[in-house]
Symmetry: C2
Subunit: 410 residues, 2 copies
Amino acid sequence: MQQDVQGKVDSRAMREVNRSIVLDIIRRGGKVSRTDLAKRSTLTKPTVSAIVDDLIARGIVQEVGFGKTVATGGRRARLLEFNDASAAYLGLRFGVHTTTVAVADARGEVRAIRETPTIAGDPHASVRSALGLLDGALEEAGLPRARLESVGVTVPGMVDTRSGTVAFAPNLGWNDVPIRNLLQQALELPVIVHNVTNAGAIAEGRVGAAKGARSYVWVYVGHGLGAGIVIDGQLFSGTKGFSGEIGHCPIGDEGPLCSCGLRGCLETLASGKAIERIAAEAVRGSEPTTLSSHSAPIDASVVLDAARAGDAVSQRILRGVGQHLGVGLSYLINVLDPELVVLGGRVMEASEYILEGARASVARHTLRSSKVEIVASTLGDRAGLMGSVIAAMDQSVRSYRIVATAERMA
Amino acid sequence: MQQDVQGKVDSRAMREVNRSIVLDIIRRGGKVSRTDLAKRSTLTKPTVSAIVDDLIARGIVQEVGFGKTVATGGRRARLLEFNDASAAYLGLRFGVHTTTVAVADARGEVRAIRETPTIAGDPHASVRSALGLLDGALEEAGLPRARLESVGVTVPGMVDTRSGTVAFAPNLGWNDVPIRNLLQQALELPVIVHNVTNAGAIAEGRVGAAKGARSYVWVYVGHGLGAGIVIDGQLFSGTKGFSGEIGHCPIGDEGPLCSCGLRGCLETLASGKAIERIAAEAVRGSEPTTLSSHSAPIDASVVLDAARAGDAVSQRILRGVGQHLGVGLSYLINVLDPELVVLGGRVMEASEYILEGARASVARHTLRSSKVEIVASTLGDRAGLMGSVIAAMDQSVRSYRIVATAERMA
């Protein structure tokens, strides 16, 4: 996510940096005066005033009355405040069953949410259907369309983030869909596309269980299985945006056929659909289980409910899935050495049994298990949508810093 | 490897950046005049002159005669050149059997190498023994001890790079050894410690098969198995410096006991010691093999030689090891989505059979196999030592750039 501004420090770059410092203080700091800003930024008062005048002219900052009389006497200072309505961001989540549209304000607070069924196999129709909800959502949010600055999109599948193309989303029936282009043509705004695991990882780090962690892995256990990776505060998407595909790591040459066309994939043993397949087998078995009272096909949520209600077969299914999941987590831990692993997605919302199985399995398969914490997401199923909103904001709000790098320019 | 210099761009930071730009041009560019430098850096001539005067005073740059008369007439320009002898760097590789000392000049060219047996289980004695070779190596290199700027150390084991401690190096018999402190006390110089996979990855990217690649994995197949990871041009060592431990990824609950104390580790099936164990089993089998003419224990190099000489059993052993190695590579590829995988280490120096098995296995276990190239190292067994020298240089030579980051300061 980092990019070079330029090799040489010139005055334009300095202005950009100083502007972002002043804006950061106003955004975080509540009501502040120009004098406060100069003190806290260590910039000169004329520099601060020029930046503030520009921010006011653009509607990003507003004046909101006067501060207390200063101790040395003289005029009372005008106070400045960040204008929450100065920008709007659009988050779009294309889920397997439901497409969700969220409109957030300049602080990233979601003000309106709308839903519509996903039209499987037809990305154009799905986009049209989602955009049909936009005006209503903007109205509910109290934000004019002209303030929309950028769009974040989340898709369950393999996304080439650079080109904004969905390479392969079997559960949506999408193949090589240029989703960024489709939306840019319709909205004439910058669009950033992430897969659901990367979006979840972003959101969990900003407002969820990974807040404060510099390097962590966010594991999505839903219909499928995948991981979003954050390294040193930055999302790591791999060379082509295909990182974190632990669902397709082999854990044997045999096993059920995976949706990707390979055999032996971890996803066939540790995912929502694995739970459903194993539950169907259990119902045909001899051991009594409350799952038998449900008509086929049995949804993963039925197994989660049955386990919590005390059904021993369901509990065992989930512990077994957790153990296989733990094997996948041990790959991530051995390869990445993260601070923290967060388990998110629909299936993890309600399963202490999976968590228990996963922790036991990780302890058996890593050298330093005790040092890597494994916790459940605190965002639940909202993580992907929130990640899409945050990604949209990050597209247009930038902070700057200077780094020293050991890498030669040669 | 990146670190913040400061949040605000001030004139000191600008001087640092400009100085590194001028020095980079001189280091790369052969003989240049001050006028050339001003043109190529787009800095003013007085700025360039002040920087050059300082570099000359410090002995980093030297004047070397005159250029051609300039077209517009006037004085001939003094030419400037980087002084190769202005600094010396020390590389130390503690290998399982041999400790190697290398002295390099200011360009990183290795000018002298000395070796001594590693004293297993005694880090203090190993350090004393290595440092006993230093004066002779410096003399051979023609570099005075006062020019030594920093030290790079490579160890086969788990290294906490931040504290410079070797947490666990079973093949050296080292446990919690503060190797950086030991060397800093003896030499009073900055010391950087890497494990052999990270050092190999650094070297391969700078001067080997991964040159030009931004994101790649360097896999070490020696006595053990591990990986060094480079992401976007930077070494990625994980939170505690323990990344890339693919040797201890589980590929089953059973299997031989690993040196780490766990069972089912990939290293027990894909490494030099795996080759040796499987070869010993093959000799006891019924199929004829030239390995039978060697006395036990059979070294991995014997199997590599026998395979090249046409022994079918040896070839099959190596292909099988390659297939298991490929499973490990598929974990790395699925998790990291690298541009390139480079296979290095003693065992890979001579085995097309392992490479063949590994490529076939990766093709079977990844979604995008055709797009990730898998190649053999071009540095062979020298990669670790060269990496230690490069790491030492990187400690003292820094380049600067400004980056924009999507990450908030909040």
